[in-house]
Symmetry: D2
Subunit: 220 residues, 4 copies
């Protein structure tokens, strides 16, 4: 059964949240819906009672009570010997009008494995042809703890406490920024650790990238 969709205008933040939720929802349950066009900036509402999908008010309620578990993925290009040549970063517009570079990140849903969440977020953010090479080991290179308090660990998420499993994921296919990203760029190790690029990242994503490079013994 396809869900009954209603749209209503929303703020930027609501729209972004809704888009994330919609995509989560759609990719898992109704892949066909991915092709239906929607007025940009409108939100999907009450489209399902599925337990993996959370209405905004429910998600807020949960966020105040438990940490959310997420995946962080640092997309890379490898040479034939497995050495990191490039690191991929998204360019996103933030609600406050600033623009920020970011790695791929997102929630693990109820009843979803870590691998399924990685696959879903990577193909959602970098396009259906990105061909992620998920690693044989499920052990993350590190665990990133984002707190609303920016000074707790240095990793910061104003909305929630997140425990995120962080992976380096080689991409073999074409990576295209999806709808809610302004751009996607492959940067060299030198570029991605340069002061200029670091200053364009927020939430501590620059540190996640440096930790990722270290796990590949590529830290300058």
């Amino acid at each position: 059964r396809l869900p009954d969709c209603h749209y209503q205008p929303a703020t930027y933040e609501q729209a972004t949240e809704a888009r994330a939720q919609r995509d989560d929802h759609v990719a898992v349950r109704w892949p066909r819906l991915l092709v239906c066009s929607r007025p940009r900036g409108w939100r999907v509402q009450d489209i399902s009672t599925t337990t993996t999908w959370l209405r905004e008010e429910d998600l807020s309620w949960v966020r105040e009570r438990v940490p959310l578990v997420c995946v962080d993925a640092v997309p890379v290009r490898l040479d034939h010997l497995g050495q990191v040549e490039k690191v991929g970063l998204l360019l996103r517009a933030l609600p406050d009008g600033t623009v920020s570079r970011a790695i791929v990140t997102g929630r693990i849903l109820r009843d979803e494995t870590v691998r399924e969440a990685l696959w879903r977020h990577l193909t959602k953010d970098l396009g259906p042809d990105c061909d992620p090479q998920l690693p044989a080991s499920i052990t993350p290179f590190t665990v990133v703890e984002y707190f609303p308090d920016p000074h707790r660990t240095g990793f910061h998420d104003p909305r929630q406490h997140t425990v995120s499993l962080a992976y380096v994921v080689p991409m073999n296919g074409d990576c295209e920024p999806a709808e809610d990203a302004l751009d996607f760029a492959w940067l060299t190790v030198e570029e991605v650790t340069s002061l200029g690029v670091v200053s364009e990242m927020s939430q501590g994503h620059d540190r996640v990238v440096r930790h990722a490079l270290a796990s590949c013994r590529r830290l300058p």
Copy 2:
């Protein structure tokens, strides 16, 4: 402000849950309460509106909507070269009347770091003198995904979908089973991987132990 406490009788399951919640709650917020005696098998109710503590009905609501993030800790004794000599297992009574051996495991609370959760659960389950040597690296040796469906990953939790960060933790002090455990025993690598002991574990804890031993290159 100290909470206003009310007690009422409860089923075994409620009592166990309440005890877990009370300990969570008490250890984090009001350490003094740990000394107050309570009729065993009664539950603490409505003692707080703190966001880290969840009433049973709230926890149930959350469990149906998001995966919970936990820590699994395999307690070990090391020789002076760091080699695993013994693995420690709890003996617990389950609601169905059976008895089961288990590793230390528990939720990460809102606003709690992974390290704080490890410390809290280890000292709660193995006593205040157990002296856990938390590792320098926060990277788990594996990520264990418990599902209500026992066939999904082989790691099983009938109550919830759990993403658990699993650690090997050397214990330098005296380990005593806490209130809700029947026993705690140190077993050799041969014993802990023997068919007899494996058959006494549930939820896939025997496999977590074998994966832990493999991370220490001690798998037979």
Copy 3:
């Protein structure tokens, strides 16, 4: 300058050693030589003074004085989510007339990186089209210490003390057993950990495989 080649008959052991050395030598220095045909069972002798290549007597001398550093590679097939589906094992004839299943293993040469050694041994043993996907991280899943004393660690090499960096390597291409292997087979996780297959492995390779599976959280 191409080396001056002389051939002479040799025992099985000498021939095997020579073949290994020749391949080492040839692959690194004179790739063209790979196509030249040689009478099978004869050995290449004194073909070079290059320091990466060692005459048998020199290698023996070294083996008595220092541990040798090697790579162990467990070839695997992954599904699109990165989960191990099959493990690949070589079938080799041993000098004593027995037949043994084995993972890919070999020395790291002077002036060769770990990644180059992995690539060389995998493409030498599984053919030029095997397309190994070397991991982004150079950190091995474990370190295997082979000793002439079979009881020291349980990993055994009668010829030498070896410190081997062990990796799980996904293979994307066609894997064909090279000249000195009788066969190469893809086995399921259940098969590769079955008593039958385990009894066909020597030197502790069955344990290396189980440790590899554990690093991928696929240990039964």
Copy 4:
């Protein structure tokens, strides 16, 4: 049988090498010898035919033919939650008259396990009371490849090609610089990654330290 010792004057480099070899030799085979006093700067010669000990000319011969396998240890102080508080660095005089900060590093001997080598080098360099807490897992946080060519990997050893297994080792005891070190100091994470301290390290040890911090999620 105790060895017959002869002394002769030596250059700085010979003395250092001899001291390293003597200590290797002595610690493993004749612990009693550790207490015998020797004129500083003289070398031990021909004291044994044991295969784990190598005369300087033999070691040179080996160095040109195979990579040597070593351990790198980054000593740390942890708080009770396992978080890195301090990193320990040795201060050593180099043959060219310069002074350099360094981590603990050294060869794995023939017939010695990785754990024994770690223990030996740590207690040799930081004193018998340093009480190293060797980790339960033998998997290094990374593999450092030192080459005579300083541009190959950025990790540099003019004397040899080294494959080094790198570990973070918490020290619980008193650390005192041994004979051939000028000093040993505990530095904060900020200090050890500062430009001043980084410029005092050579061979890429500053990068090893940063990779070690990353493995503990403590990279700034």
